[in-house]
Assembly symmetry: C2
Homo-oligomer: 664 residues x 2
């Protein structure tokens, strides 16, 4: 224990946000107000004061914000996050004798006790402050001290003088803080761009972008599709890897172990004689085409997300140039990927236990920096859970030090603690188990867990109802209502969501075989031609949902998510709101894609700053219908074959006869 | 971040118990098994191993216990706590390539894959282990390696050899652990004597112990009462301070501001010309009488608890000898205690902000050591929340370093975070808000909070239904049923509990005035003569409850406390059990002292290792009645005017015809 000065009596604990006692930074976005709380108290009855200290990582001096007590010894203060990158913050506190004295003297004067000695104690404190002041402050304080000592000034007058707010500030400002304690850790918050929290992703394979069936799509073809993606309201367009694809052990259609010469191969099998992680598959175009596409997309408000998949085919140039980065077997062959008894001979993983690990790390970083140079700012990272945690922490920290606007999405479909570690150590967003959470209990439990303080401070979920690897049974069997319901859930439960676009628009639901979550004739292994103009597509519906998201700031964050009671387990109800409650969205989804479900929804009006005694209007942003609701319990009925959900904006006030001029 | 070796891939987090990231020790009692858990995982698919490291604080070398995976990346191991004092522990983990290899080769051989290269990989690992072994271990390992390399041994045979448990242990023992990670903090557990967790306290004023009304009781009188206290089943006998009482501003009866010469004064007003904190009030006897009483009590299985009240009257010798330990006011007078506008002029507090704080600390410690020398092992500390936290942490740590058998009870009736800080920093037990928790909701909430992991690892509640300061309204208005119900709650909700004895036995319920929680004619200010032989006293009942506590180990700990559903809010139901479920106590209390209450209790049989399909017997240890219960839901009815509670021991098995010989 600290025996430096036993007179340091204030305790500061349970600072929040603080992740793993400061081991990892919290995350926020630019423009946020950073609210910090702490338990602060001391022994006995003395008053205390506390300040939040903060600075950007580059600054030397702390800036200071006075903290305010809430309840139960909890204190709070905020500071604005005005630039990208890292801020540091901590908390300091001290026993405030002048504050104690003010409180006591006020009670004493009110109780008409003799206070002459007490006034002298106050006078000494004010004189002490005067000694540390100069100029007019000094003389003001000296005058106050003299008044407190004077026997010709009445107690009530002395009290009025010394409690005058400007005077209190002046004494506070010049008082020496004795025995202050500062929280032993400096904490960090990483400030990301807005898209780290609020983003709508659209995934497509550029090789399927051609307008001519059978032809290999190109970046130029993708340019043609940009206005369509923008019009649908997506702001991130994500391509699987764009590199040359290996030939050795290339997989055939439907993941067959062998391929024909015309098979396109999996884009995740990276590296061939045509190049590796810094090369572009020539079938897609030139590196210049890619740069041009990035720029054109940005003009339309779309960022291109790059797929960072750190693995190689046996044909990758690294295998010859850096055999020391791979694991050799006793027969001299290189260890391919496997999950015994399964073998993935088309992929060879890096050996992160190599003695040459630091050169390997540097090279892997150089890949990221190379694509940043080409204009990329968003990296979707393939299987980060199969590479060491220290590597990611180093990589992301290094990259974001120079490029704080860059974000990383973790594609870690793995065990919960591994997933959490990756977001703690720096990933800006993560894929989740959302695709497999279908029932009311599952969704409520899972999103309550993700929303816990501590978790929500580092883990930003990105919700995908489907991916090229995931065609859930719910989508396979639920038909159009299932696709609509899952889209609404993803887009409103998550400030960030994404779809594997064309198959979702077209409600592609055929698995490779019964029980499989793989698509039949999966685009992972072949070029597809999607008929995006099909009249039954979900395009218009998706466009509407994305517009609702943009127009309603309640949906731009996950922190306000709350679930509400419905007396029907097929109906899920939840709300989000802005901090000032000016925008409140209540979503109700029928999770049963087959039957109409009805029930009574209970909304806690009293906690929503709504008057439970007044009727209010709810506006369904999906159907444009408006309903008059009254009180916390209201009836809903959802037919999945019409629309399986309400996305209700609460309009606070209903017009009444009082609103007409003649009533005044 | 740690860049020493990027190949350290294992993560260890969320070790439990760990309080405030190792800032404070956890607490256990001697004989406990110390179970430690941690989240341990790595990237990818490699197998890992982990060990719990532990030692007593005096030892240099760690002892090691292999950890076992539970679920969800949680690992566990235990070590025995065999001596009082401090143990240290931490966790270490590593990627275990031999374990990964064993798992893979087993699957491969089962799948009849070609494994010759894989056997060579295993052979190298075994040879590596052999190189670090000697003697017979070396030759055994060399032989195994040779077999794995041999083309004349069949794969199945190789597999059998290498999976043989002794062989696995041998390889493990001699394998070099590469890239191990050890949790960055060494954690501490303080091992206390049993009474720190399980104790029944009886509070009495020795000055009221005389058998003759009006005469000042003495330690000799107390000796006479020892058999009675022991027979009732109490093991700690607690006296208010035994020091000379001040004269200046001495309070009169019922806390009147002035006193008559015959007024005895408050024992907490410590210090007079007859001495201070190391002196005994001559009216109680000599220091030798006190030592003798301590020894006589110990013979009867009773420890005398000492009241450590660090405050002085104006007459205390310290005031003259060490004026520098008190705060002076501008008029030269010494600052008395106050809570404006209230003044406590009979008490002057130490000034812990004095420049001479370290001398003050040493003197206060010497008081504790002085009474330890007299035989005291249990200190009840008066108002610790009005002295600095660092002082207590230092004092308790210092004292327990030399006297690990000493325990401290914190009498901190203050805000929750202050109370928690005191137990975190070292107090062995604490008073609680129990006295004011009367309804089902209040009791359930409060004891659920106290039982949370983290809290329960440092805070041991001691439940008092009354104290000389606290006569609750529930007791004032509830009559005999209220006294009985609150005793049962205290004694079964808390492994430690206590009563302010005579008034409780006699159901003294008269407050000083309506709305007050002070006793009328409080013993704090006068000598009382209690008629302990009154026929309506609770003595027999209390004796029975204490016997139930002693005989049922389920009640010796709080960690297993669980609340159960009753469909009547006046009935509270909870259970405790031993770790092996051999002793299960279900308590049901009627919280309404005025009316019979009945309801259906739901006990989660499936989690209690009870067969829900079989009837079982519950034995009411209060009434000795036995009931046959069946299934989780059973009916109870409690008349407060008979006994307002059941304390049921669950007898697992009901005899049936199958138990008779002729049935076999």
């Amino acid at each position: 224990m600290n025996m430096k000065d036993g007179r340091i009596r204030v305790v500061i604990e349970s600072v929040s946000p603080e992740i793993d006692f400061g081991r990892f930074p919290a995350k926020r976005i630019i423009g946020d107000t950073m609210s910090v709380e702490a338990d602060i108290f001391t022994d006995g009855h003395d008053a205390i004061s506390a300040s939040l200290l903060y600075k950007t990582e580059g600054e030397d001096a702390w800036r200071e914000m006075p903290m305010t007590p809430l309840v139960n010894d909890r204190w709070q203060a905020s500071f604005p996050l005005e630039q990208l990158g890292r801020y540091r913050y901590t908390v300091t506190g001290w026993v405030d004798h002048f504050k104690s004295w003010r409180k006591a003297i006020e009670k004493r004067v009110t109780a008409r006790q003799v206070v002459s000695v007490d006034m002298l104690i106050g006078a000494s404190m004010v004189e002490e402050a005067a000694n540390h002041a100069s100029g007019s402050a000094k003389s003001t304080l000296k005058k106050l001290a003299a008044s407190l000592r004077s026997s010709s000034v009445k107690d009530d007058e002395k009290l009025a003088m010394v409690l005058e707010p400007d005077m209190v500030s002046l004494v506070d400002k010049h008082s020496v803080r004795l025995f202050t304690v500062t929280y032993p850790r400096e904490l960090v918050v990483v400030v990301d761009p807005v898209c780290a929290r609020f983003s709508a992703w659209y995934e497509m394979f550029p090789r399927s972008a051609s307008s001519l069936p059978g032809r290999h799509g190109t970046f130029r073809d993708c340019e043609r599709l940009l206005p369509r993606v923008a019009a649908m309201g997506f702001d991130i367009l994500y391509f699987p890897p764009i590199h040359p694809i290996g030939v050795t052990h290339r997989k055939g259609r439907n993941n067959r172990p062998s391929s024909n010469p015309e098979d396109a191969g999996s884009p995740w099998a990276i590296g061939s004689s045509e190049g590796g992680h810094k090369s572009v598959n020539p079938m897609l175009g030139t590196p210049e085409d890619y740069k041009r596409l990035i720029a054109k997309a940005r003009d339309k408000g779309i960022e291109i997300a790059f797929d960072l998949a750190y693995n190689c085919t046996p044909d990758h140039p690294y295998v010859k140039e850096h055999p020391e980065w791979f694991r050799k077997r006793p027969d001299g062959t290189i260890q391919y990927a496997e999950n015994p008894p399964k073998k993935y001979e088309d992929i060879i993983p890096f050996d992160f236990e190599t003695e040459h690990w630091s050169e390997l790390w540097e090279e892997l970083k150089s890949i990221v920096l190379f694509w940043i140079d080409q204009g990329i700012r968003i990296f979707r990272v393939d299987n980060p859970h199969t590479k060491p945690f220290p590597f990611w922490e180093w990589l992301i920290t290094e990259v974001k030090r120079d490029y704080p606007e860059v974000i990383f999405l973790s594609e870690a479909f793995t065990r919960p603690k591994v997933m959490n570690r990756l977001t703690k150590l720096g990933f800006s967003q993560t894929y989740t188990y959302f695709a497999w959470r279908n029932t009311k209990w599952e969704l409520t439990q899972y999103f309550t867990e993700l929303g816990r303080p501590g978790v929500r401070d580092h883990l930003r979920p990105n919700l995908w109802p489907n991916t090229p690897d995931i065609l859930t049974e719910y989508l396979q069997f639920g038909g159009r209502p299932a696709f609509i319901a899952r889209l609404i859930l993803a887009a409103t439960l998550g400030a960030s969501y994404g779809i594997y676009g064309a198959p979702y628009e077209l409600m592609e639901a055929r698995p490779r075989e019964p029980g499989s979550e793989e698509y039949v004739d999966s685009e992972k292994y072949e070029i597809k031609h999607w008929n995006l103009e099909r009249p039954d597509s979900l395009r218009e519906f998706i466009t509407r949902v994305n517009r609702i998201r943009r127009e309603n700031p309640a949906l731009h964050d996950d922190v306000s998510l709350r679930f509400h009671d419905v007396d029907n387990d097929s109906l899920l109800c939840y709300s989000k709101h802005t901090p000032d409650w000016s925008n409140i969205i209540v979503t109700i989804v029928n999770l049963d894609p087959h039957h109409t479900q009805a029930g009574w929804v209970t909304i806690p009006l009293e906690t929503m700053s709504l008057d439970a005694a007044q009727p209010f209007q709810v506006h369904d942003l999906l159907s444009d219908a408006r309903y008059l609701w009254h009180g916390p319990r209201n009836y809903v009925e959802l037919n999945p074959n019409v629309v399986p959900a309400h996305v209700l904006r609460i309009r606070r006030r209903i017009r009444s006869e009082r609103d007409f001029d003649y009533f005044m």
